[in-house]
């Protein structure tokens, strides 16, 4: 059993808070009254994102034979959905890029999984006509952020956890809970509370493995849960937690989800993930291939 308390872990976390520009972007995306102009204003002063959007827009616009020089034109060419994904993915905490050995995650794998879940949650939301696209993306992107705080502790307990999982056919989360006394969803939720993120996102992080722990169903929680499961099934960056999760039957039936839907959306998610990886690494391979 770990001797650290969850409060100590969250309070003493040596994790830089999200960049201010990311915080502003999350706030804008979460505000139902904000539009594309507000998003442009938020990223206008970020040179990395601006440069990336211009590069992408010019690449996309080769056929038209013109050169795009302003952020506004770039946004028009790329469309709001793509702009938001590029901007958010660029704002990802750098910790998500690092290896998390305690979870069997190689460098870049947690980032890949996080972006995959973010894309999948959005695709599900769009298909089912529920939730807010920006909120779903952010919730997906941050759902496993707690793993970055628990990594060191998990490394110490690694052998114990692998044995628990093998002997008892338990989920990775249950093994984590037993070995440490708490688990990554709760730690991630506390961290995001500390960062002052909106409740809807904190809730999705806290309950992404246990949507039925809520008395009232929550769409963002439900879709983050399903998106996480689908990414794991598709082998998108699951690490050692891999397929050792439970799919909640109530959520599956609540939305009448069929395997054929998972397949077609899963295929779309993987294609989009590959194109986003290309933006960040230039290769289309996972960031660790750099």
């Amino acid at each position: 059993m770990s001797v650290m308390t969850i409060d100590q872990i969250v309070n003493e976390a040596n994790l830089p808070r999200l960049p201010d520009s990311a915080m502003r972007l999350i706030a804008v995306i979460n505000d139902p009254n904000s539009g594309m102009n507000d998003i442009i204003e938020t990223i206008r002063f970020d040179q990395t994102i601006t440069a990336e959007l211009l590069r992408r827009a010019n690449a996309a616009d080769i056929g038209a034979g013109r050169s795009i020089t302003t952020l506004d034109d770039a946004v028009r060419v790329l469309g709001t959905g793509r702009v938001m994904r590029i901007a958010m993915a660029a704002q990802t905490p750098t910790e998500l890029m690092k290896a998390q050995e305690g979870y069997g995650l190689s460098p870049g794998e947690l980032w890949r999984h996080s972006v995959g879940v973010a894309l999948m949650a959005q695709l599900l939301g769009r298909k089912l006509g529920v939730g807010n696209q920006g909120v779903l993306f952010t919730a997906g992107l941050l759902h496993d952020v707690g793993k970055t705080l628990l990594n060191t502790h998990m490394r110490k307990e690694y052998a114990h956890i692998v044995k628990l999982v093998a002997d008892r056919k338990t989920t990775f989360l249950e093994a984590e809970q037993e070995a440490l006394g708490f688990s990554h969803p709760e730690v991630g939720a506390r961290l995001c509370e500390k960062w002052g993120l909106p409740d809807v996102i904190v809730r999705a992080i806290r309950y992404h493995h246990e949507p039925d722990a809520l008395t009232e169903p929550d769409e963002t929680v439900d879709l983050t849960h399903v998106a996480n499961v689908i990414c794991r099934v598709m082998g998108v960056g699951g690490g050692d937690e891999g397929l050792l999760v439970r799919a909640n039957a109530d959520v599956v039936s609540r939305y009448g989800l069929k395997e054929s839907l998972f397949e077609s959306l899963g295929a779309e998610m993987v294609m989009e993930l590959k194109s986003i990886q290309k933006v960040f690494t230039g290769t289309g391979e996972a960031p660790d291939a750099r």
Binding site: G235, V236, D240, G242, V245, S264, G266, A267, K274, A289
Partner: protein
């Protein structure tokens, strides 16, 4: 030794004896490795879904995503490098299932059945396999000797 990474929904073939083909994190997806000991040609496919019929346009633009379009493409690419069907040694890994899938996620099983079907139709035998369970696998094919290495949380195996 050069490691060539095969991404999800992708494939690679090579006649470079010094190279290793590797694919990470096979969940319900399946990795198919083929190797010709005479031509010393190796190939590795990482497909994610059983049938391209779910999205004909993706099956066309990205055949390695599906079993029924990816497997023929893998074999054809190996033939181009001088591999012979009669000599090919075929090894398979992946096809895991969720620990608790509530009947909604059987993709791993269906991925494996689709492979058995296409192999049976084409008279291809599987020489070694490491499939099923709820485990994530990373696999490597050594083109020099055809060794197929499987790495999981629980350890390593060679087929």
């Amino acid at each position: 030794m050069a490691d060539k990474v095969v991404d999800i929904a992708d494939l690679a073939v090579t006649d470079d004896h010094d190279s290793t083909l590797v694919t990470y994190s096979l969940g319900s997806c399946i990795g198919v490795a083929i190797w010709d000991p005479v031509a010393r040609v190796g190939g590795l496919l990482h497909y994610m879904l059983p049938e391209g019929a779910i999205s004909p346009e993706k099956a066309k633009s990205n055949p390695a995503m599906f079993c029924d379009t990816g497997v023929p493409q893998l074999f054809r690419a190996a033939y181009k490098l001088g591999a012979d069907k009669k000599r090919l040694i075929v090894k398979v890994a992946g096809g895991s299932q969720l620990l608790d899938n509530n009947g909604a996620f059987n993709i791993g099983k269906r991925n494996y059945l689709a492979l058995r079907k296409i192999f049976w139709k084409n008279g291809v035998m599987i020489d070694g396999e490491h499939v099923g369970g709820s485990i994530s696998r990373t696999v490597r094919l050594n083109v020099a000797d055809g060794k197929f290495l499987i790495k999981t949380r629980e350890g390593e195996a060679t087929l």
